[in-house]
Amino acid sequence: MAHDEPRFHVPAPHVRPGDTPDFSHLDLQPAGEAKRPDPSVDGMETRDLALGLIGVLDHNHQAVGDWNPELEPDVLREGLRHMMLTRAYDDRMLKLQRQGKMSFYMKSTGEEAVAVAAAMALDKGDMVFPSYRQQGILFARGRDIVDMMCHCISNSRDNLKGRQLPVHYTWAEGNFFSISGNLATQFPQAVGYAMACQYKGDNQIAASWIGEGSTAEGDFHGALVLASTYKAPAILNVVNNQWAISTFHGIASGEAPTFALKGLGYGLASLRIDGNDFLAVYAATKWAAERARKGHGATVIESFTYRADAHSTSDDPSGYRPKGENETWPLGDPIARLKNHLIGLGEWDEERHTALEKELNELVIASYKEAETHGTLHDGPLSPVNSIFEDVYAEQDWRLRRQRQDLGV
């Protein structure tokens, strides 16, 4: 029998299904207010930035304050296009999953800026260790869409030979590490990679992303200990999209007011940024990359955002959060905000936006048609069955050779 009062503290969100969405409790620092220190600043001097919120785009969609990266309109339009393509791709793939074309899918709706702006601020040679919700990086780095789809439907052209769940991409050519399904494991790996970059004496850095829920994992702690101890040239991104499947952020944050603040405990430069603000994500990533490249060590960046859709195709958020919560998120939608900023600059308009949306939708539809010519999960062709025994080791030993024979391939 349930007790009226819990006997110990279990945090809970203040609204649940049936309630009216409400974010009035959030005390968000206005865009333009946060000061931008020199990237060489002592990590402990970033306390205000870890507790505050770095934003560039204000309510009027104007770029304001120290952190304004002052990007050329062409760069802004490029960013807008990558984010819109990410969304068009996600929307299409969800529909295809619902039609039974793939086993599983994960959208990044509402979080496109977190991936796209960061990827554009990094050098293409920088190694990224993403989680499963940063597909925007692939678009920003120019990966072939057909290749991405071939992976998701595990067909004969899947560059991972059908071994990974959809969206668990790998793209070495684009310096995109293999995505794990086990949470936070990539965080300390990225630090090791960054240390090796320094060892090799080049200018390359590493960046990684995990969700706020995964900061509870030991590997989050391990990554920060390593990064701080060895002053590794790494960017450690915590994407706080408020929800870890059905579990609200408070189950991971505990009494800590922000996730960025956790970085301060390790003496690392730590920033909390508006993750739905393309310019803020870009500027913060540039700052952290410069800090890393100049030998001042790692930065923890909490991107404050909202997972506007379900965790995955196996999840239904109506069971744990109010309907329409995404529409009331006080930091808006990253695509709409950058679009309005560009319109305000006189560098974009509704007609062009609608035309681009149409163009990208058509691109995605045509790409999928092409992807299917290389096979589908259900009807094949897939990678050859004997490929399941490949790449376990560089060479197959007697065990794998015999088992392959046992399977008759």
């Binding site: 990974q164 590490f177 790996q189 090791g192 060892y199 390593l226 790449d391 560089a394």
Partner: protein, 334 residues
Amino acid sequence: MNMIQALNSAMDVTMDRDPDVVAFGEDSGYFGGVFRVTANLQKKYGLDRCFDTPINEAAIVAMAIGMAARGLKPVAEIQFADYIFPGLDQIVSELSRIRYRSAGQFTVPVTIRTPCGGGIRGGQTHSMSPEAFFTHIPGVQVVMPSNPYDAKGLLISAIESPDPVIFFEPKRLYNGPFEGHSGGALSSWGKHPKGEVPEEHYTVPLGKAEVVREGHDVTILAYGTLVLVAQAAAEKAGVDAEVIDLKTLAPYDIETIARSVNKTGRCIVSQEAPRTSGFAAELAAQVQEECFYALEAPIQRVTGWDTPYPHAHEWSYFPGPERFIHAMNAVLEA
């Protein structure tokens, strides 16, 4: 050389030949490791080639993975095999699968060295032989040497291997050979033929076992400390036993094993670890698959007990010569 010096020499020659080889672990840097296996390497090669790490085995393994993905050849030390479990997720879900899940786009040739086994009054947290867990992970190789010569040659092979290796070092053998008698003076590797270790680079191949005692009546499969114990037991019992040192457990050398058992018709499998679901069980299963019609008696197992490794009663736990003799009698009487 003793086994510590041989392992140190393996790291020294590989670090000298290849600037991508780096070594690290808890107390591994300045101090050279609690067992001194990395002694003097920091002094000789610099702070960034042999360094101390925070006490976080998951982070140590993950750091090695990241470094290997960038082209280094990391040799990570886990201070005791009993401490490896916080790093298990990084080994099971990451290290072992990066080549596979990236379809060869990324590879992580990491060597994880870790001292294992009992016989040094280590109690339950410094005596484990957890090798069986690791033989159950596709994508890693598992090695355990039984003497200084092999230790050096196998460690060099491990470091130079394109795939990850979990390298178990039986710490009871670090300072001298051990035949399973707890009392008496400690013998020295200096007087043992396998203690003659060349200074220079050489390799002992992974995946190859060695017949270390030829015989006709029974085959004893052993690795690590029990190789010497099995040989001593055969001498003491006057049994014409063939003893095979497996050296590599994953992948183990089925050819050498099957050739011997088909010749002797009898087999004892052994391990220091607890009995149930140990690596010896895998050996027994495979031997009966390969050699069933040659077998004249049920396969016997010599193992530790299904208990944690006790402190005070260490020698009642350790599978010493008497347990081997008992098994030899059983398998020969059958």
